[in-house]
Symmetry: D3
Subunit: 298 residues, 6 copies
């Protein structure tokens, strides 16, 4: 029936307003940019709900204008297994490995921060001279006596690659036990605190990192709690005094252009505790600004 | 990639839990039950937002178990034109007419109450001996000096068919100017007030209506503001003292079984002002209970 | 400019839809029904905010259709003094006394339950053979060692009139320390628990009270926490297991018709903690159903 | 400093208002009634967050008046292990076993519905002639191909005890795939649907169950989604058309008085998605009404 | 009654705290500054609700201190016609034309961005050498195949005046299809992107515009979505990465002082989706800072 | 029972993550830093609810890592008397006096801004050469004709000490009647407006104040409405255009390090109107950054 349209279609009839959803290739294909969701919050020892981020963030991302000449493939979500962290991580690693073969840049929508580990493992297996940058209020190098937590993702990533450079940007002293600074030194994880970032500015941080990671196959990761709760209230563990929306967009944008990361992930978006979907909307905007490939797609 | 799944897939792996979304036929086809969205709130002189009801209510409806042996066709949404009420109504009428040819029962998800008029016109053109039942806190027979309002849908429907029986169930005196009672008499619209409904009970009301409409091709309509705001806060014009969720489910369920309506619509769901999506969830449950065809589908 | 209208005017152009706001007489005048706000929450030892109830409830009440032939006078709000409970109560008593001289029925919008005391004092001074009925989850006969609380309004009212009948309807055992039952006996306050009310039904309760208070000048008071939190979440002290919206409207409506109370008040509406203004909307509907005078107004 | 008080103390100074928090014995002790929290939502395949129920529900429960002559022991929360369902269930079983030795009635605050299984195992080991009653919108007898779900708790409980009577009250057809009805028959699980419960009323259901379970050591369980979303929006899987607050309080109250259950649990309260804490408040009221022991405590 | 006061009066008794509401002249009069509401969201192809902005923003604006020596006239709201965009626009143009004759500066509270067009038409007819500045995340120069949208306001304004300078400040690439940049060039609309604005700072932007528009009769327009969603969540189409509250206040303040605009409008405030009224409160603060006339009023 | 833990314990098992709650000394003791809550909103002439700030802010503060070598004593809350401002202020003064004898730095959690006065009185009595710095959108030097308001705290503090330097940082012209600027001059209260603060930056303000107050026993006070509503929506009287979270943390942090204040208070946090607890969380972070003593505690 020509007077009907697909459920949920746009109200504005602007044919030149091409959105990501109009061009995205769904399923298993090759392309410039890949999307992979990991709907998993099984390692959260605080407020769960990040399992809903892939669908909510996609909602915003899909409705954004597609302004780059790149083909975009959406591989769907990892088929997680409720209650089985190990199996879910294995599947995540396998899915990431397969995805990385098909695209120049893989965008991953977590999930809690624990999902970065298997994705990194896939990258680490495939590439030489890798490097890791995490934008986060926390360094994620906790030690725990039992149970899971997304607060030790970097510790596991360091174990997976003992020598590559790792930097965490956005550390807030009032949200981290001080022993973590010692751990960071021992694990050779460089910390750029929020204060230091403010001192040199986002441009300065981006320039330093571009310099330090030049030539590496970079894994760039954004834990949304790096952003101030005013801009990103929907996270497991909000920490006052973070980046503004413009700063985080600018930082990721510069690093993407300079370093052309193989993987960019956004983790810890937690729609269950979000306010007016601000965090999902911002995450989508950051993802859009993280796409660096310039393909031949039209 | 077999370890991935479609975005937004279910977390529970229960193959025997067949949902409506697993069986629904999308697009233009014949079947037992049809779905049509009318994302339109252009006639609302209060709180708009009903345009989002088709997608939000479908979200709940699609994820409900499909427990009937009937084929279900989703015709999508009417392709509304922002700012053009007349054209949108014409398209709604046309879409309804085409849909009614293809299914035994057409389920319409509004939209504000004005969308019932063109759907009724389509039914009226096609069938003899029709009848109309509206469950609503208001009789929708206002007169206005200019502009649109969903508050005169029944007046227009009466004009489209001057002789059929029309009943409105759920009238609240404190939410309607008293002149409407006189209008109802003049327009030969039967009013069953909330108090009268309480007196005889939902069973009693259903029995009366089954008796009165026996043999007719019935248009059954539910303005969600008939339901109490505790159960359905997400409507344009909430009126305290309405039906409970169990009553409205029971009433629609009985009328559907008894009268096998050709059309059932749910209107005035307004997600923008809803609380925890309670109204959309209830609307979906009512729709599910309104399906009477017993087809050969499995 | 004829193409402009007053700020906030209605969008629906229905001249026959006469609302309370179209007819109300503002200020100091005689009439059938009077309105008085007491924006005071100074005695609340829990969640304050009832000070905003007069303006929020009026918002809903004013926009309701005026379906009775009675003149309605709005005396405005008592000019409360932040931090001075005594002076505010004195002004409330004086305002109520003046208002009671001008109208047949005075409707008071609290404020916390402490405002009923000075209003009752005004009534008590003016009338013989008074009687008091409170619909409340709590009997409000606490004893405290220091400080104010709205939880002893009935104790003070009993002190003001040691002999009249007092009944509290809606008592929930799980929300009241049991010593209050002994106090009620000593103070000769009759308690009708929620369970007892359910047993005989709202009709039964109304009939009993109509019988018991026949011939008296009645003060009818509704603490909105008598209503279940699903229907009235916006109160200081919500207690699960209360009246439904229909029950409370019916109960007040019957008592108003039968007993023609000199005063009806609604207290403890707390907009700061309300959900989608459900409590204010319901309070307005109850107020509208509490108006019994049939004047000569048109 | 005598002019200070404990943080968060009550504002009303009523020494005779004895609350549960004033009398509860914290830690490991004997008593009439025991409290045990199981902050676990690891089996939820929908919206997690029930892990916060024990602390939120306790907040309401502790501040309720203590009107029974029974000693109450709070054993604290099971020391759950994030990511390890098996270990957490083992600890829950062990904690329940120890608790059951110390009290006449054990009140458990879940957690998702999966926590009922280990608690039942503890009871089952200790007592002869047990029986199980679940108030729930769902029968929780799903079969799944992989992963956990709280939707098969009853299946596991049936496996733990193949012969005892099991009844599920509150089934909604629109929220359950129909194969579950067959499963129920095969598993010898009696289903009382919402419609059947409405037919005979809560009193009738309670009388039937009292008759059927007389003499047994009963495990009474309340999945809060049995209650209508208007009264209990804060659950993982809300299903329209459920019990009212008064019905659920009455049903649990009658069953507790009649059957003196050894265990009563409240599960699936999910504060992360609650509205104005209505679900936690109602859960606390139900818990209070479930206490049947009449000890010698004062 | 002297102990009462007007409903909703202030609680703080500070006679020297003169608010706008204490001085505003309501109705049709001459003055320094004029206020006109346009409660219209009929062109919104996304989330409607801007129709409520005039009353909500006025609420905040009226309660702000009046610190300027200027007479302020509130002309009320345009008498919009639900469903009739054309007629509403005609009335808006006429109302604006009449208002502009009476005041030095006209402040307009939208409404969606489409209302700027008729207001501009009125200005354009009356004045020579006009100029247009829009602060907006979007350039509003879409082309559509059918229906209305507030996304082409600037296109219509350009048609109304093909030669005047038009500048749009605040463009976000991730929220606009790239064809709009080409359109902007063709339409001779200057775009200052958010990045460019950040580069030179708000002071720099203001200085550039002051220079470019010196001597012109300026129409200054603020689409609130230019502001970041953290500061202005209540808009139809939020775009992350926008101006802060201080920046937008500063930018409008500087432009008002420098250019003395004949019209300043605030559009797209959408209270239905706002969070804690932050957007309305900010809009009011901007309006207050936009008043430049220094009259002789006291 | 070893497999249980205290209600509400942390889910992450990280023994090296020492939180304030693990070390705080509760009750009456000596230490480096003291905590005192004043749950009082009796002087608020706007939106009350600050009485809940001490418990809510403590919730966040207690769960923050303790990274300083200082002993921390929590004296509890002042035992306020509902309805008796005078007595509550007397108790606050006495409690503060006793607390100040026991600790180097006293942290006070209001309560509305009126609670600063009695705390200052205690300091003023005890110390010579005091000084007062208030970070606030308002100077709090109103004059009123009757009733209380937190808007004249500084006037009372000036009366208590006519000669010390007083500075208010953060003044917004659009939120204050202009007579207050004259009052400030007469009362010798220095105002640093938001614009001036922006001009020199937070660093500059801190440097100026460090210079001006060097050698004094400083009372540093933060009215949370100084912060922008995007970062601190939960205040009585939000004023757009305020400090960011980073700025307020930085400003308090610098002043604390430089001036080692004897008292630091945070007032006007109003949880009843907060959004996602952002204001309480930020207040806790500021409190943590305000602790300057370096004790011998471990
Ligand atoms: Mn992280
Ligand atoms: Mn983090
Ligand atoms: Mn209707
Ligand atoms: Mn209606
Ligand atoms: Mn009361
Ligand atoms: Mn009460
Ligand atoms: Mn269950
Ligand atoms: Mn269930
Ligand atoms: Mn625009
Ligand atoms: Mn825009
Ligand atoms: Mn202040
Ligand atoms: Mn202030």
């Amino acid at each position: 029936m020509p007077i009907t349209r697909a459920p949920g279609a746009r109200f504005i009839k602007d044919p030149r307003d091409v959105r990501l959803e109009d061009r995205v290739i769904r399923g298993d294909a090759e392309g410039d940019v890949g999307l992979l969701g990991v709907p998993w919050d099984g390692a959260v020892g605080g407020r769960p709900g990040a399992r809903f981020a892939p669908s909510r963030v996609r909602g915003f991302l899909y409705s954004m204008p597609l302004n780059i000449n790149a083909s975009i493939v959406d591989f769907g979500d990892v088929d997680v297994v409720i209650g089985d962290h190990g199996e879910t991580m294995r599947r995540t690693r396998e899915a990431a490995a397969q995805a990385l073969k098909r695209v120049k840049e893989l965008l991953v929508i977590g999930g809690d921060n624990s999902v970065s580990h298997p994705v990194f493992q896939a990258l680490n297996e495939m590439e030489e001279e890798v490097g890791y940058i995490l934008i986060d209020a926390h360094p994620d190098i906790r030690t725990v006596t039992e149970g899971l937590t997304s607060g030790l993702a970097i510790r596991m990533i360091r174990e997976a690659n003992p020598s590559m450079p790792i930097t965490v940007v956005g550390y807030r002293p009032h949200s981290n036990p001080r022993y973590l600074m010692d751990e960071a030194r021992q694990l050779n994880v460089r910390i750029i605190t929020m204060n230091e970032a403010e001192e040199v500015g986002v441009k300065g941080v981006a320039a330093q990192l571009a310099e330090a990671y030049r030539g590496r196959r970079v894994y760039l990761s954004l834990d949304m709690d790096a952003v101030d709760p005013a801009f990103a209230p929907g996270v497991n563990s909000p920490s006052p005094g973070g980046f503004t929306s413009r700063e985080v967009i600018d930082l990721v944008s510069r690093l993407s252009k300079e370093l052309r990361p193989r993987v960019f992930d956004v983790v810890e978006v937690t729609p269950l505790v979000d306010v007016a979907d601000q965090t999902s909307n911002l995450a989508a905007a950051v993802l859009m600004n993280a796409m660096w490939p310039q393909g031949d797609a039209q």
